[in-house]
Symmetry: C2
Subunit: 298 residues, 2 copies
Amino acid sequence: MKIMIMGAGALGSLIGGLLHLSGFEVILVGRPPHISEIERRGLKISGKMNVTLKIPTSLTPVESDLTILTVKSYDTRSAAKALREFDSPVLSLQNGIGNEETLMEELGGERVIGGVTSYGALRVEPGHVKYTGEGEIVIGEMNGKITERIMMISEIFTRAKMNVRISEDIKMEIWKKAIVNCGINPLTAIAGVKNGVLLEISSLRKLLREVCEEAKRIAEALGITFDEDPVERTFEVAKRTSENFSSMLQDVLNGRRTEIDAINGEIVRTAHSIGAQAPINEALYRLVKVLEGENGRT
Amino acid sequence: MKIMIMGAGALGSLIGGLLHLSGFEVILVGRPPHISEIERRGLKISGKMNVTLKIPTSLTPVESDLTILTVKSYDTRSAAKALREFDSPVLSLQNGIGNEETLMEELGGERVIGGVTSYGALRVEPGHVKYTGEGEIVIGEMNGKITERIMMISEIFTRAKMNVRISEDIKMEIWKKAIVNCGINPLTAIAGVKNGVLLEISSLRKLLREVCEEAKRIAEALGITFDEDPVERTFEVAKRTSENFSSMLQDVLNGRRTEIDAINGEIVRTAHSIGAQAPINEALYRLVKVLEGENGRT
Protein backbone atom coordinates (compact mmCIF):
# COMPACT_ATOMS: atom_id res chain seq x y z
CA MET A 1 0.00 0.00 0.00
CA LYS A 2 1.80 3.08 -1.25
CA ILE A 3 0.41 6.42 -0.13
CA MET A 4 1.43 9.66 -1.81
CA ILE A 5 1.04 12.92 0.09
CA MET A 6 0.56 15.51 -2.63
CA GLY A 7 1.38 18.91 -1.15
CA ALA A 8 3.55 18.04 1.82
CA GLY A 9 3.48 21.29 3.76
CA ALA A 10 2.87 21.33 7.50
CA LEU A 11 -0.34 19.29 7.56
CA GLY A 12 0.59 16.93 4.73
CA SER A 13 3.97 16.19 6.28
CA LEU A 14 2.36 15.49 9.66
CA ILE A 15 -0.18 13.09 8.15
CA GLY A 16 2.52 11.43 6.05
CA GLY A 17 4.73 11.11 9.11
CA LEU A 18 1.99 9.49 11.19
CA LEU A 19 1.19 7.03 8.38
CA HIS A 20 4.89 6.24 7.91
CA LEU A 21 5.27 5.65 11.66
CA SER A 22 2.59 2.97 11.54
CA GLY A 23 4.30 1.11 8.74
CA PHE A 24 2.74 2.41 5.55
CA GLU A 25 4.87 3.15 2.51
CA VAL A 26 4.63 6.91 2.17
CA ILE A 27 6.09 9.34 -0.32
CA LEU A 28 6.00 13.07 0.33
CA VAL A 29 5.55 15.27 -2.74
CA GLY A 30 6.15 18.97 -2.29
CA ARG A 31 8.52 21.83 -2.92
CA PRO A 32 11.97 22.90 -1.87
CA PRO A 33 13.28 23.92 0.57
CA HIS A 34 10.97 21.81 2.77
CA ILE A 35 11.16 18.69 0.58
CA SER A 36 14.92 18.98 -0.01
CA GLU A 37 15.55 19.30 3.73
CA ILE A 38 13.45 16.16 4.37
CA GLU A 39 15.46 14.35 1.68
CA ARG A 40 18.72 15.47 3.28
CA ARG A 41 18.03 15.17 7.00
CA GLY A 42 14.65 13.51 7.39
CA LEU A 43 11.31 14.94 8.49
CA LYS A 44 11.41 16.37 11.99
CA ILE A 45 8.12 16.44 13.89
CA SER A 46 8.02 18.26 17.22
CA GLY A 47 5.19 19.30 19.51
CA LYS A 48 2.97 16.42 20.50
CA MET A 49 5.76 14.02 19.53
CA ASN A 50 9.48 14.33 18.84
CA VAL A 51 10.75 12.20 15.99
CA THR A 52 12.84 12.49 12.88
CA LEU A 53 11.69 10.21 10.06
CA LYS A 54 13.44 9.10 6.89
CA ILE A 55 10.61 9.31 4.37
CA PRO A 56 11.04 9.17 0.59
CA THR A 57 10.26 12.43 -1.21
CA SER A 58 9.65 13.62 -4.72
CA LEU A 59 9.23 16.99 -6.39
CA THR A 60 6.67 15.56 -8.82
CA PRO A 61 3.84 13.07 -8.35
CA VAL A 62 4.41 9.34 -8.76
CA GLU A 63 2.27 6.23 -9.10
CA SER A 64 0.60 5.22 -5.82
CA ASP A 65 -2.36 3.31 -4.42
CA LEU A 66 -3.82 6.37 -2.68
CA THR A 67 -3.14 10.08 -3.07
CA ILE A 68 -3.86 12.35 -0.13
CA LEU A 69 -4.12 15.89 -1.42
CA THR A 70 -3.04 18.61 1.01
CA VAL A 71 -2.05 21.41 -1.35
CA LYS A 72 -3.41 24.91 -0.69
CA SER A 73 -6.77 25.43 -2.34
CA TYR A 74 -5.36 27.88 -4.88
CA ASP A 75 -3.11 25.06 -6.15
CA THR A 76 -5.87 22.45 -6.48
CA ARG A 77 -6.27 22.77 -10.23
CA SER A 78 -2.58 22.54 -11.08
CA ALA A 79 -2.18 19.61 -8.70
CA ALA A 80 -5.16 17.90 -10.31
CA LYS A 81 -3.65 18.34 -13.77
CA ALA A 82 -0.41 16.80 -12.56
CA LEU A 83 -2.37 13.79 -11.27
CA ARG A 84 -4.19 13.11 -14.53
CA GLU A 85 -1.61 10.62 -15.79
CA PHE A 86 -2.10 8.36 -12.74
CA ASP A 87 -5.01 6.20 -11.60
CA SER A 88 -4.99 6.37 -7.79
CA PRO A 89 -8.01 7.60 -5.86
CA VAL A 90 -7.47 11.14 -4.58
CA LEU A 91 -8.57 12.07 -1.05
CA SER A 92 -8.76 15.83 -0.54
CA LEU A 93 -7.92 16.97 2.99
CA GLN A 94 -7.90 20.64 2.07
CA ASN A 95 -9.48 23.83 3.28
CA GLY A 96 -12.38 25.57 1.65
CA ILE A 97 -15.20 24.91 -0.73
CA GLY A 98 -14.87 23.76 -4.31
CA ASN A 99 -11.72 21.63 -4.17
CA GLU A 100 -13.57 18.37 -4.82
CA GLU A 101 -15.47 19.94 -7.70
CA THR A 102 -12.22 21.12 -9.30
CA LEU A 103 -10.70 17.66 -8.84
CA MET A 104 -13.74 16.00 -10.40
CA GLU A 105 -13.54 18.33 -13.39
CA GLU A 106 -9.92 17.39 -14.01
CA LEU A 107 -9.89 13.74 -12.93
CA GLY A 108 -13.46 12.55 -13.41
CA GLY A 109 -15.92 11.84 -10.62
CA GLU A 110 -14.69 8.32 -9.85
CA ARG A 111 -11.26 9.12 -8.44
CA VAL A 112 -12.26 11.86 -6.01
CA ILE A 113 -12.96 11.34 -2.31
CA GLY A 114 -13.96 14.22 -0.06
CA GLY A 115 -12.47 14.99 3.31
CA VAL A 116 -11.78 17.55 6.00
CA THR A 117 -9.45 17.49 8.94
CA SER A 118 -8.93 19.42 12.14
CA TYR A 119 -5.45 18.05 12.89
CA GLY A 120 -3.16 20.96 13.66
CA ALA A 121 0.32 21.47 12.24
CA LEU A 122 2.61 24.46 11.83
CA ARG A 123 5.70 25.08 9.77
CA VAL A 124 8.73 25.62 12.00
CA GLU A 125 11.47 25.66 9.36
CA PRO A 126 12.20 23.66 6.21
CA GLY A 127 12.15 19.95 7.08
CA HIS A 128 10.56 20.62 10.49
CA VAL A 129 6.85 20.77 11.36
CA LYS A 130 5.15 21.09 14.71
CA TYR A 131 2.27 18.78 15.59
CA THR A 132 0.12 21.30 17.46
CA GLY A 133 -3.08 19.43 18.07
CA GLU A 134 -4.82 16.14 17.61
CA GLY A 135 -8.03 16.48 15.64
CA GLU A 136 -10.26 14.42 13.45
CA ILE A 137 -10.26 13.29 9.85
CA VAL A 138 -13.67 13.02 8.22
CA ILE A 139 -13.85 11.28 4.84
CA GLY A 140 -16.67 10.41 2.49
CA GLU A 141 -17.55 9.49 -1.05
CA MET A 142 -19.00 12.45 -2.91
CA ASN A 143 -22.18 10.43 -3.57
CA GLY A 144 -22.48 9.52 0.10
CA LYS A 145 -22.09 5.75 -0.43
CA ILE A 146 -20.12 3.59 1.98
CA THR A 147 -17.75 1.94 -0.46
CA GLU A 148 -14.99 -0.59 0.08
CA ARG A 149 -12.33 1.98 -0.63
CA ILE A 150 -13.73 4.46 1.88
CA MET A 151 -13.68 1.72 4.55
CA MET A 152 -10.14 0.84 3.54
CA ILE A 153 -9.01 4.45 3.85
CA SER A 154 -10.72 4.73 7.22
CA GLU A 155 -8.81 1.64 8.35
CA ILE A 156 -5.53 3.17 7.20
CA PHE A 157 -6.00 6.18 9.50
CA THR A 158 -7.23 3.97 12.32
CA ARG A 159 -4.05 1.90 12.10
CA ALA A 160 -2.08 5.14 12.30
CA LYS A 161 -3.97 5.85 15.57
CA MET A 162 -5.66 8.90 14.05
CA ASN A 163 -9.27 9.83 14.76
CA VAL A 164 -11.21 9.10 11.61
CA ARG A 165 -14.89 9.10 10.74
CA ILE A 166 -16.76 8.18 7.55
CA SER A 167 -19.49 10.64 6.63
CA GLU A 168 -22.41 9.93 4.34
CA ASP A 169 -22.70 13.67 3.74
CA ILE A 170 -19.17 14.91 3.18
CA LYS A 171 -20.37 18.07 1.41
CA MET A 172 -22.07 19.09 4.63
CA GLU A 173 -18.85 18.41 6.56
CA ILE A 174 -16.88 20.53 4.09
CA TRP A 175 -19.36 23.40 4.48
CA LYS A 176 -19.31 23.03 8.25
CA LYS A 177 -15.57 23.48 8.28
CA ALA A 178 -15.77 26.32 5.74
CA ILE A 179 -18.24 28.15 7.99
CA VAL A 180 -15.87 27.92 10.94
CA ASN A 181 -13.08 29.18 8.70
CA CYS A 182 -15.08 31.96 7.01
CA GLY A 183 -15.51 33.58 10.42
CA ILE A 184 -12.40 32.83 12.43
CA ASN A 185 -9.86 33.18 9.64
CA PRO A 186 -10.57 36.61 8.13
CA LEU A 187 -11.57 38.27 11.40
CA THR A 188 -8.39 37.19 13.19
CA ALA A 189 -6.36 38.22 10.12
CA ILE A 190 -8.00 41.67 9.89
CA ALA A 191 -7.92 42.40 13.61
CA GLY A 192 -4.51 40.80 14.12
CA VAL A 193 -5.65 38.80 17.12
CA LYS A 194 -5.60 35.27 18.54
CA ASN A 195 -8.74 33.21 17.95
CA GLY A 196 -9.97 33.69 21.51
CA VAL A 197 -10.10 37.48 21.21
CA LEU A 198 -13.00 37.06 18.76
CA LEU A 199 -15.08 35.99 21.74
CA GLU A 200 -13.86 38.76 24.06
CA ILE A 201 -14.54 41.91 21.99
CA SER A 202 -18.22 42.51 21.43
CA SER A 203 -17.83 43.92 17.90
CA LEU A 204 -15.75 40.95 16.77
CA ARG A 205 -18.08 38.48 18.48
CA LYS A 206 -21.04 39.99 16.67
CA LEU A 207 -19.27 39.98 13.30
CA LEU A 208 -18.23 36.36 13.87
CA ARG A 209 -21.83 35.37 14.41
CA GLU A 210 -23.16 37.42 11.46
CA VAL A 211 -20.65 36.21 8.89
CA CYS A 212 -21.20 32.57 9.88
CA GLU A 213 -24.99 32.98 9.89
CA GLU A 214 -24.79 34.43 6.40
CA ALA A 215 -22.68 31.50 5.13
CA LYS A 216 -25.04 29.05 6.82
CA ARG A 217 -28.01 30.61 4.98
CA ILE A 218 -26.22 30.17 1.65
CA ALA A 219 -25.42 26.53 2.45
CA GLU A 220 -29.02 25.88 3.43
CA ALA A 221 -30.23 27.55 0.23
CA LEU A 222 -28.04 25.04 -1.62
CA GLY A 223 -29.92 22.23 0.10
CA ILE A 224 -27.37 21.35 2.76
CA THR A 225 -28.85 20.16 6.05
CA PHE A 226 -26.53 20.50 9.02
CA ASP A 227 -26.33 17.86 11.75
CA GLU A 228 -25.37 20.57 14.26
CA ASP A 229 -25.49 24.35 14.15
CA PRO A 230 -22.32 25.40 12.31
CA VAL A 231 -22.46 28.83 13.95
CA GLU A 232 -22.44 27.38 17.47
CA ARG A 233 -19.68 25.05 16.34
CA THR A 234 -17.63 28.06 15.22
CA PHE A 235 -17.92 29.57 18.68
CA GLU A 236 -16.85 26.27 20.26
CA VAL A 237 -13.84 26.05 17.96
CA ALA A 238 -12.85 29.66 18.74
CA LYS A 239 -13.06 28.85 22.44
CA ARG A 240 -11.11 25.60 22.17
CA THR A 241 -8.42 27.22 20.02
CA SER A 242 -8.41 30.54 21.89
CA GLU A 243 -4.61 30.67 22.18
CA ASN A 244 -4.01 29.83 18.49
CA PHE A 245 -3.09 32.21 15.71
CA SER A 246 -5.23 31.26 12.72
CA SER A 247 -3.54 30.09 9.52
CA MET A 248 -4.86 33.16 7.71
CA LEU A 249 -3.39 35.55 10.27
CA GLN A 250 -0.07 33.72 9.99
CA ASP A 251 -0.24 33.95 6.21
CA VAL A 252 -0.97 37.67 6.30
CA LEU A 253 1.76 38.40 8.84
CA ASN A 254 4.25 36.41 6.77
CA GLY A 255 3.27 38.05 3.50
CA ARG A 256 1.97 34.78 2.07
CA ARG A 257 -1.11 34.20 -0.04
CA THR A 258 -4.13 33.18 2.05
CA GLU A 259 -6.92 30.68 1.30
CA ILE A 260 -9.57 33.45 1.35
CA ASP A 261 -10.60 32.67 -2.25
CA ALA A 262 -11.64 29.13 -1.38
CA ILE A 263 -13.34 30.17 1.84
CA ASN A 264 -15.18 33.53 1.85
CA GLY A 265 -14.59 34.01 -1.87
CA GLU A 266 -16.25 30.70 -2.67
CA ILE A 267 -19.17 31.50 -0.37
CA VAL A 268 -19.72 34.78 -2.25
CA ARG A 269 -19.47 33.06 -5.63
CA THR A 270 -21.86 30.33 -4.49
CA ALA A 271 -24.32 32.97 -3.28
CA HIS A 272 -24.20 34.78 -6.63
CA SER A 273 -24.68 31.48 -8.49
CA ILE A 274 -28.06 31.05 -6.79
CA GLY A 275 -29.05 34.70 -7.18
CA ALA A 276 -28.33 35.55 -3.53
CA GLN A 277 -25.90 37.93 -1.85
CA ALA A 278 -23.34 37.39 0.90
CA PRO A 279 -22.31 40.98 1.68
CA ILE A 280 -20.53 40.31 4.95
CA ASN A 281 -18.46 37.49 3.48
CA GLU A 282 -17.76 39.78 0.54
CA ALA A 283 -16.64 42.61 2.81
CA LEU A 284 -14.24 40.34 4.69
CA TYR A 285 -13.04 38.88 1.40
CA ARG A 286 -12.18 42.33 0.11
CA LEU A 287 -10.38 43.36 3.27
CA VAL A 288 -8.24 40.20 3.32
CA LYS A 289 -7.45 40.80 -0.36
CA VAL A 290 -6.16 44.22 0.66
CA LEU A 291 -3.98 42.60 3.32
CA GLU A 292 -2.72 40.14 0.71
CA GLY A 293 -1.58 43.09 -1.35
CA GLU A 294 -4.24 43.06 -4.03
CA ASN A 295 -6.35 46.17 -4.37
CA GLY A 296 -9.56 44.74 -3.04
CA ARG A 297 -11.41 45.06 -6.32
CA THR A 298 -13.15 41.90 -7.39
CA MET B 1 -24.66 88.32 20.03
CA LYS B 2 -26.78 85.28 20.71
CA ILE B 3 -25.29 81.94 19.72
CA MET B 4 -27.42 78.82 19.51
CA ILE B 5 -25.73 75.44 19.79
CA MET B 6 -28.01 73.12 17.83
CA GLY B 7 -27.30 69.56 18.94
CA ALA B 8 -25.70 70.04 22.33
CA GLY B 9 -24.11 66.63 22.88
CA ALA B 10 -20.57 66.29 24.13
CA LEU B 11 -18.85 68.51 21.55
CA GLY B 12 -21.68 71.06 21.24
CA SER B 13 -21.90 71.47 25.00
CA LEU B 14 -18.15 71.95 25.27
CA ILE B 15 -18.11 74.62 22.56
CA GLY B 16 -21.18 76.30 24.06
CA GLY B 17 -19.55 76.21 27.47
CA LEU B 18 -16.33 77.79 26.23
CA LEU B 19 -18.27 80.54 24.41
CA HIS B 20 -20.42 81.15 27.50
CA LEU B 21 -17.31 81.39 29.69
CA SER B 22 -15.97 84.23 27.55
CA GLY B 23 -19.17 86.21 27.88
CA PHE B 24 -21.27 85.32 24.86
CA GLU B 25 -24.99 84.73 25.19
CA VAL B 26 -25.36 81.00 24.47
CA ILE B 27 -28.36 78.74 24.32
CA LEU B 28 -27.93 74.96 24.22
CA VAL B 29 -30.52 73.08 22.15
CA GLY B 30 -30.61 69.32 22.54
CA ARG B 31 -32.44 66.38 24.03
CA PRO B 32 -33.23 65.03 27.45
CA PRO B 33 -31.79 63.73 29.64
CA HIS B 34 -28.65 65.77 28.88
CA ILE B 35 -30.50 69.06 28.31
CA SER B 36 -32.85 68.60 31.26
CA GLU B 37 -29.89 67.91 33.57
CA ILE B 38 -28.17 71.09 32.34
CA GLU B 39 -31.42 73.00 32.97
CA ARG B 40 -31.65 71.55 36.48
CA ARG B 41 -28.05 71.58 37.70
CA GLY B 42 -25.99 73.37 35.08
CA LEU B 43 -23.47 72.08 32.56
CA LYS B 44 -20.54 70.33 34.20
CA ILE B 45 -17.29 70.29 32.23
CA SER B 46 -14.43 68.18 33.56
CA GLY B 47 -11.10 67.12 32.10
CA LYS B 48 -9.01 70.02 30.89
CA MET B 49 -11.10 72.33 33.09
CA ASN B 50 -13.48 71.87 35.98
CA VAL B 51 -16.51 74.16 35.92
CA THR B 52 -20.25 74.03 36.24
CA LEU B 53 -22.04 76.62 34.10
CA LYS B 54 -25.60 77.89 34.20
CA ILE B 55 -26.45 78.08 30.51
CA PRO B 56 -29.95 78.53 29.10
CA THR B 57 -31.30 75.50 27.27
CA SER B 58 -34.15 74.67 24.94
CA LEU B 59 -35.57 71.48 23.46
CA THR B 60 -36.37 73.27 20.20
CA PRO B 61 -34.47 75.88 18.16
CA VAL B 62 -34.93 79.58 18.82
CA GLU B 63 -34.02 82.81 17.04
CA SER B 64 -30.30 83.62 17.29
CA ASP B 65 -27.56 85.57 15.55
CA LEU B 66 -25.49 82.48 14.82
CA THR B 67 -26.34 78.78 14.88
CA ILE B 68 -23.53 76.31 15.46
CA LEU B 69 -24.71 72.90 14.29
CA THR B 70 -23.23 69.93 16.13
CA VAL B 71 -25.91 67.30 15.60
CA LYS B 72 -24.86 63.86 14.41
CA SER B 73 -24.69 63.67 10.63
CA TYR B 74 -27.72 61.38 10.43
CA ASP B 75 -29.79 64.16 12.03
CA THR B 76 -28.61 66.95 9.73
CA ARG B 77 -31.70 66.99 7.54
CA SER B 78 -34.22 67.07 10.37
CA ALA B 79 -32.19 69.76 12.15
CA ALA B 80 -32.07 71.77 8.93
CA LYS B 81 -35.85 71.53 8.54
CA ALA B 82 -36.28 72.79 12.09
CA LEU B 83 -34.04 75.78 11.28
CA ARG B 84 -36.00 76.83 8.18
CA GLU B 85 -38.20 79.27 10.06
CA PHE B 86 -35.20 81.28 11.32
CA ASP B 87 -32.67 83.48 9.52
CA SER B 88 -29.38 82.99 11.34
CA PRO B 89 -26.28 81.78 9.53
CA VAL B 90 -25.60 78.12 10.29
CA LEU B 91 -22.05 76.93 10.92
CA SER B 92 -21.69 73.16 10.66
CA LEU B 93 -19.05 71.66 12.95
CA GLN B 94 -20.06 68.09 12.21
CA ASN B 95 -18.40 64.90 11.10
CA GLY B 96 -18.51 63.48 7.64
CA ILE B 97 -19.19 64.52 4.10
CA GLY B 98 -22.43 65.97 2.78
CA ASN B 99 -23.71 67.90 5.79
CA GLU B 100 -23.22 71.30 4.18
CA GLU B 101 -24.90 70.10 0.98
CA THR B 102 -27.93 68.88 2.96
CA LEU B 103 -28.08 72.20 4.81
CA MET B 104 -27.89 74.16 1.58
CA GLU B 105 -30.71 72.09 0.10
CA GLU B 106 -32.95 72.87 3.06
CA LEU B 107 -31.83 76.41 3.93
CA GLY B 108 -30.48 77.83 0.70
CA GLY B 109 -26.83 78.42 -0.05
CA GLU B 110 -26.56 81.80 1.73
CA ARG B 111 -27.02 80.68 5.31
CA VAL B 112 -24.56 77.79 5.36
CA ILE B 113 -20.97 78.01 6.57
CA GLY B 114 -18.67 75.00 6.51
CA GLY B 115 -16.48 73.85 9.35
CA VAL B 116 -14.59 71.05 10.99
CA THR B 117 -13.14 70.71 14.44
CA SER B 118 -10.70 68.47 16.23
CA TYR B 119 -11.66 69.57 19.75
CA GLY B 120 -12.26 66.47 21.85
CA ALA B 121 -15.20 65.90 24.18
CA LEU B 122 -16.81 62.82 25.69
CA ARG B 123 -20.15 62.21 27.35
CA VAL B 124 -19.69 61.29 30.99
CA GLU B 125 -23.31 61.33 32.12
CA PRO B 126 -26.32 63.54 31.43
CA GLY B 127 -25.34 67.16 32.16
CA HIS B 128 -21.65 66.29 32.34
CA VAL B 129 -19.11 66.28 29.51
CA LYS B 130 -15.38 65.77 29.60
CA TYR B 131 -13.08 68.15 27.71
CA THR B 132 -10.54 65.60 26.50
CA GLY B 133 -8.36 67.61 24.20
CA GLU B 134 -7.75 71.02 22.76
CA GLY B 135 -7.92 71.03 18.98
CA GLU B 136 -8.65 73.40 16.18
CA ILE B 137 -11.74 74.85 14.55
CA VAL B 138 -11.52 75.45 10.81
CA ILE B 139 -14.28 77.48 9.21
CA GLY B 140 -14.94 78.72 5.72
CA GLU B 141 -17.55 80.02 3.34
CA MET B 142 -18.63 77.33 0.90
CA ASN B 143 -17.56 79.58 -2.00
CA GLY B 144 -14.15 80.18 -0.42
CA LYS B 145 -14.62 83.92 0.04
CA ILE B 146 -13.35 85.77 3.10
CA THR B 147 -16.55 87.50 4.16
CA GLU B 148 -17.30 89.81 7.04
CA ARG B 149 -19.33 87.16 8.79
CA ILE B 150 -16.56 84.55 8.54
CA MET B 151 -14.14 87.01 10.11
CA MET B 152 -16.69 87.79 12.81
CA ILE B 153 -17.15 84.09 13.60
CA SER B 154 -13.39 83.62 13.70
CA GLU B 155 -13.17 86.49 16.17
CA ILE B 156 -15.85 84.88 18.36
CA PHE B 157 -13.78 81.71 18.77
CA THR B 158 -10.59 83.72 19.25
CA ARG B 159 -12.23 85.63 22.12
CA ALA B 160 -13.15 82.27 23.63
CA LYS B 161 -9.44 81.38 23.47
CA MET B 162 -10.10 78.58 21.00
CA ASN B 163 -7.76 77.81 18.11
CA VAL B 164 -9.54 78.90 14.96
CA ARG B 165 -8.50 79.18 11.34
CA ILE B 166 -10.34 80.49 8.28
CA SER B 167 -9.97 78.30 5.22
CA GLU B 168 -10.50 79.38 1.63
CA ASP B 169 -11.09 75.73 0.73
CA ILE B 170 -13.34 74.35 3.43
CA LYS B 171 -14.47 71.43 1.24
CA MET B 172 -10.88 70.23 1.20
CA GLU B 173 -10.73 70.56 5.01
CA ILE B 174 -13.94 68.54 5.35
CA TRP B 175 -12.56 65.81 3.09
CA LYS B 176 -9.25 65.82 4.97
CA LYS B 177 -11.07 65.14 8.22
CA ALA B 178 -13.32 62.56 6.57
CA ILE B 179 -10.27 60.69 5.30
CA VAL B 180 -8.82 60.52 8.81
CA ASN B 181 -12.20 59.30 10.06
CA CYS B 182 -12.84 56.80 7.24
CA GLY B 183 -9.77 54.90 8.35
CA ILE B 184 -9.48 55.29 12.09
CA ASN B 185 -13.17 55.05 12.96
CA PRO B 186 -14.31 51.81 11.29
CA LEU B 187 -11.05 49.93 11.83
CA THR B 188 -10.98 50.66 15.55
CA ALA B 189 -14.68 49.79 15.77
CA ILE B 190 -14.27 46.49 13.92
CA ALA B 191 -11.10 45.41 15.69
CA GLY B 192 -12.23 46.76 19.07
CA VAL B 193 -8.95 48.56 19.69
CA LYS B 194 -7.55 51.94 20.72
CA ASN B 195 -6.44 54.22 17.90
CA GLY B 196 -2.76 53.47 18.48
CA VAL B 197 -3.16 49.75 17.88
CA LEU B 198 -3.88 50.53 14.22
CA LEU B 199 -0.21 51.45 13.93
CA GLU B 200 1.09 48.44 15.85
CA ILE B 201 -0.56 45.54 13.99
CA SER B 202 0.71 45.18 10.45
CA SER B 203 -2.62 44.06 8.96
CA LEU B 204 -4.46 47.01 10.50
CA ARG B 205 -1.73 49.44 9.53
CA LYS B 206 -1.94 48.25 5.95
CA LEU B 207 -5.75 48.48 5.88
CA LEU B 208 -5.57 51.98 7.38
CA ARG B 209 -3.30 53.10 4.58
CA GLU B 210 -5.33 51.42 1.84
CA VAL B 211 -8.75 52.72 2.90
CA CYS B 212 -7.41 56.28 3.23
CA GLU B 213 -5.59 56.09 -0.12
CA GLU B 214 -8.81 54.95 -1.73
CA ALA B 215 -10.79 57.85 -0.24
CA LYS B 216 -8.04 60.28 -1.27
CA ARG B 217 -8.28 59.05 -4.87
CA ILE B 218 -12.04 59.70 -4.86
CA ALA B 219 -11.55 63.20 -3.45
CA GLU B 220 -8.91 63.97 -6.07
CA ALA B 221 -11.20 62.67 -8.81
CA LEU B 222 -13.75 65.20 -7.54
CA GLY B 223 -11.19 67.94 -8.10
CA ILE B 224 -10.06 68.44 -4.53
CA THR B 225 -6.41 69.41 -4.12
CA PHE B 226 -4.96 68.68 -0.70
CA ASP B 227 -2.55 71.04 1.00
CA GLU B 228 -0.93 68.08 2.79
CA ASP B 229 -1.17 64.31 2.28
CA PRO B 230 -4.38 63.25 4.08
CA VAL B 231 -3.05 59.70 4.43
CA GLU B 232 0.08 60.81 6.25
CA ARG B 233 -2.12 63.08 8.34
CA THR B 234 -4.24 60.07 9.32
CA PHE B 235 -1.15 58.28 10.58
CA GLU B 236 -0.13 61.35 12.57
CA VAL B 237 -3.60 61.61 14.12
CA ALA B 238 -3.57 57.90 15.01
CA LYS B 239 -0.20 58.37 16.68
CA ARG B 240 -1.20 61.52 18.56
CA THR B 241 -4.48 59.95 19.73
CA SER B 242 -3.02 56.49 20.33
CA GLU B 243 -4.61 56.13 23.76
CA ASN B 244 -8.09 57.26 22.59
CA PHE B 245 -11.08 55.08 21.86
CA SER B 246 -12.62 56.41 18.64
CA SER B 247 -16.16 57.77 18.69
CA MET B 248 -17.27 54.95 16.38
CA LEU B 249 -15.87 52.27 18.66
CA GLN B 250 -17.62 53.92 21.60
CA ASP B 251 -20.87 54.07 19.62
CA VAL B 252 -20.63 50.39 18.68
CA LEU B 253 -19.77 49.29 22.22
CA ASN B 254 -22.70 51.30 23.58
CA GLY B 255 -25.16 50.03 20.99
CA ARG B 256 -25.60 53.50 19.48
CA ARG B 257 -25.90 54.44 15.85
CA THR B 258 -22.56 55.43 14.29
CA GLU B 259 -21.74 58.13 11.74
CA ILE B 260 -20.54 55.53 9.19
CA ASP B 261 -23.15 56.70 6.64
CA ALA B 262 -21.71 60.20 6.49
CA ILE B 263 -18.12 58.95 6.45
CA ASN B 264 -17.40 55.72 4.53
CA GLY B 265 -20.96 55.54 3.22
CA GLU B 266 -20.68 59.00 1.69
CA ILE B 267 -17.29 58.16 0.17
CA VAL B 268 -18.83 55.11 -1.49
CA ARG B 269 -21.82 57.10 -2.76
CA THR B 270 -19.52 59.84 -4.04
CA ALA B 271 -17.42 57.25 -5.85
CA HIS B 272 -20.49 55.74 -7.51
CA SER B 273 -21.70 59.21 -8.52
CA ILE B 274 -18.57 59.68 -10.62
CA GLY B 275 -18.59 56.14 -12.00
CA ALA B 276 -15.83 54.92 -9.71
CA GLN B 277 -15.65 52.28 -6.99
CA ALA B 278 -14.47 52.42 -3.38
CA PRO B 279 -14.47 48.73 -2.45
CA ILE B 280 -12.45 49.00 0.74
CA ASN B 281 -14.58 51.81 2.10
CA GLU B 282 -17.61 49.76 1.10
CA ALA B 283 -16.33 46.67 2.90
CA LEU B 284 -15.73 48.64 6.11
CA TYR B 285 -19.11 50.32 5.70
CA ARG B 286 -20.84 46.95 5.53
CA LEU B 287 -19.00 45.55 8.51
CA VAL B 288 -19.83 48.56 10.68
CA LYS B 289 -23.46 48.27 9.55
CA VAL B 290 -23.38 44.70 10.86
CA LEU B 291 -22.02 45.95 14.18
CA GLU B 292 -24.79 48.55 14.24
CA GLY B 293 -27.30 45.75 13.94
CA GLU B 294 -28.33 46.14 10.33
CA ASN B 295 -27.67 43.22 8.05
CA GLY B 296 -24.89 44.74 6.03
CA ARG B 297 -26.91 44.91 2.84
CA THR B 298 -26.77 48.27 1.13
